[in-house]
Symmetry: C2
Subunit: 286 residues, 2 copies
C-alpha cells in the first residue's frame, strides 16, 4: 500500500481531520502534522489522536512532508499554497478538499515549484458541523471524492491522490475542474442557496407575529439541515463559484416559476405530474 | 378517559391508520371500522390490527359511529362528508386530518345535519410514505396537532377532538383556519414546492449529459426527502391552499433574489451574514 512518511494538514477541521484520521487508522501515513492559525483547535486535534504534533507556522509544518492536504475554506487555499510553496520538499504532493475547483486549481498549479505537484480534489461528503471535534474516520466511507486533473497534472501524483481517497473508502471519479464546478453547483451549492433562503424567508415572515419556526415538523428540520452549514465556508463557495451558482439559481427559478404557474392556474393534472416526476427521480436515489 | 364506542376511519392511510392504531392502543375506542374505495388496503388494515372490520360502503361504515375521522386527500374530504352526512348517528363528531383547513372546514360545517358536529384538525406529523402499511402508533407522539374551531364549532365537540389528539401524544394549539393555512403554507407547503422544484431542476439540467443525481450526497438526499411525498396529496394541497402558497412562494422568491444579488455582486460580508442568520435560526429549532 501507498505510505507517506509525513502528512501535513492545513486547516484541521471536519474535512482535514477526517482524512488524517482514516489515513492514520489505515497506516497510510507515518506522521501527521497539523497546521492552523490558533492553538486551541490544534491542541484538541492532538488530544483526539488526529495529529501527532502541530504548529501555527506553516513553513515549519510542511518541512519534510511528502503530502500536504489543504482543507481551509476555499478562498484561503491559494493563499496557503502561496505561503508554503517555497518550503516544500522535492517530490511533495499538495492536494486539497475545497468545494470549488476551477478557482483553486488554476491558482495553485501556478504556485508550485518545479518538482512538486498539485492535484485538486473534493470529497462529496460532509456534515453541517465544523472543526476537528466534528471529524470522524468513516466520513468518506462509501462516498465519492471527485479528483480534478488538468493538462498540467503529473500522472504519478494524480495516481497517488486517487489512491489516498480509495484508502479513505471513497470511489474516485475524475472530472475537469470546470465540469466539477457545474456538477456541485447543481447537487450541492444550489440546494444550500435554496435552504438558506428558505429558512430566512420563513424566519422573516411575520404576518401573524408568533414564531412560525416553532411549528416546524421533522420534514422542515430535515429539509433545512444544510442551512446550518458554516457561513464562512459557504461565503467562500459563493464567491468562487459565482457563475455556476448563478446559472443554477436561474435554472431552478425557472422550475419554481413553472410550478407557480400551475398553482396559480389550479392545473390539477400539471401539478400531479410535476410532483410525480420529482418523486420518481428522488425515489431512484434513495 | 374519553372513550368512543365506534370510530369510523375514511381513508385508512398513514394519517388515518396511525390515529386508529394509537386510539386502540390507549383504549380510547372500542371498535374501529375502516372505510375505503378498494378492499386491498382495508384488508391489510385488518391484518395489521389497525381495524376491527371494514367496508367500501361509507353509508354502512358510519352507521352507529360516534366518531368519524376523514383522512383522505384534501379535495375528497368535503365529498366524503357530503356522502356520509345523512347517515350519521345523532351526536356523532366528524373530524379530519387534512393539510388545508379553510377549504375543508368551510365546506364541511355546512354539510352537517343538526345534532352532529364537525371540527377540523391537522396533525403536523407525517412521513413521505403512504397507505396503511406506513402507519404507526407513535406518529403523533411529541408532535403538534392544530385544531381549527370557528364561530360555529360546538364547544363540547371541540373539547373531545382536542382530547383525542392529546391521547395520541400531541400538543394541540387552536388556530383559525385561515391563519392555519398561512402557517402551514410557510413551514410545510412552501418547503415542499421548493423541494419538488429543486429535484425537477437538477433532474432537468443536462448540460453535461450524465446523471447528476448520482453524485448527490447525504445532504442532497435529506434535503429532498420531502420531494418523495405523495403527488395526489400534494396536488390537492396546492389546489386548495392556492393563495397562501402563492404568497409564500413569492415571499421566498424575494429572498432567493436577494441572495442571487449578493452572489452576483460577490458581496462577501452580505453573503456571510445571510448564511449566518439562516444558520442561527435553523440551529435554534434543532
Ligand atoms: N463541510 C463539508 O460538508 C465539506 C464537504 C466537502 C468539502 N468541504 C471543503 O473543505 C474545506 C474545509 O471545510 P470543513 O468543513 O472542514 O471546515 P472546518 O471544519 O471549519 O475546517 C476548516 C479549518 O480551516 C482553518 N481555517 C479557517 N479559515 C481559515 C483561513 N482564513 N485561513 C487559513 N485557515 C483557515 C480552520 O482551522 P484553524 O482555525 O486551526 O486555522 C478550520 O479548522 C472547505 O474548503 C470546504 O469547502 C467541506
Ligand atoms: N402524509 C403526511 O405527511 C400528512 C401529514 C398531515 C396531514 N396529512 C393529510 O392527511 C390526509 C391523508 O394523507 P395520508 O398521508 O394518510 O395519505 P395516504 O396514506 O395516501 O392515505 C389516504 C387514504 O385516502 C384514501 N383515498 C385516496 N384518495 C381518495 C379519494 N379520492 N376519495 C376517497 N378516499 C381516497 C385511500 O384509501 P382507499 O384507497 O382505501 O380509498 C388512502 O389510503 C391528507 O388530507 C393529507 O393532506 C398528511
Amino acid at each position: 500500500m501507498l505510505v507517506f512518511n509525513r502528512m501535513a494538514v492545513i486547516g484541521v477541521g471536519l474535512i482535514g481531520g477526517s482524512l488524517a484520521r482514516i489515513l492514520r487508522e489505515k497506516g497510510a501515513v507515518k506522521e501527521v502534522v497539523g497546521i492552523g492559525r490558533g492553538e486551541e483547535n490544534l491542541k484538541r486535534g492532538v488530544e483526539l489522536g488526529v495529529l501527532d504534533r502541530y504548529t501555527t507556522n506553516a513553513k515549519e509544518g510542511v518541512a519534510g512532508a511528502d503530502l500536504v492536504f489543504v482543507a481551509t475554506p476555499v478562498c484561503a487555499i491559494p493563499k496557503v499554497v502561496a505561503e508554503i510553496a517555497p518550503f516544500l520538499a522535492p517530490g511533495c504532493i499538495v492536494t486539497d478538499g475545497g468545494s470549488v475547483k476551477e478557482f483553486v486549481v488554476e491558482a495553485c498549479e501556478q504556485l508550485m515549484p518545479e518538482g512538486t505537484f498539485f492535484v485538486g480534489g473534493h470529497p462529496i461528503a460532509g456534515t453541517e458541523h465544523s472543526g476537528v471535534e466534528a471529524s470522524f474516520s468513516t466520513l468518506y466511507q462509501g462516498k465519492r471524492c471527485i479528483v480534478t486533473p488538468t493538462a498540467n497534472t503529473d500522472a504519478l501524483a494524480l495516481e497517488k491522490v486517487v489512491e489516498i481517497w480509495k484508502i479513505a473508502g471513497s470511489t474516485v471519479p475524475l472530472m475537469d475542474p470546470v465540469q466539477h464546478d457545474r456538477v456541485v453547483a447543481a447537487i450541492s451549492h444550489l440546494p444550500h442557496m435554496v435552504a438558506y433562503s428558505l429558512v430566512n424567508a420563513v424566519d422573516g415572515y411575520d404576518r401573524f407575529g408568533g414564531d412560525l419556526l416553532s411549528f416546524s415538523a421533522g420534514g422542515f428540520r430535515d429539509f433545512t439541515r444544510i442551512a446550518s452549514s458554516d457561513p464562512v465556508m459557504w461565503r467562500d463557495i459563493a464567491l468562487t463559484n459565482r457563475d455556476a451558482i448563478l446559472e443554477m439559481m436561474d435554472f431552478f427559478s425557472g422550475y419554481l416559476e413553472t410550478l407557480r404557474g400551475l398553482v396559480a392556474e389550479g392545473d390539477a393534472e400539471g401539478l400531479r405530474s410535476f410532483f410525480l416526476n420529482s418523486k420518481e427521480k428522488r425515489d431512484a436515489i434513495l
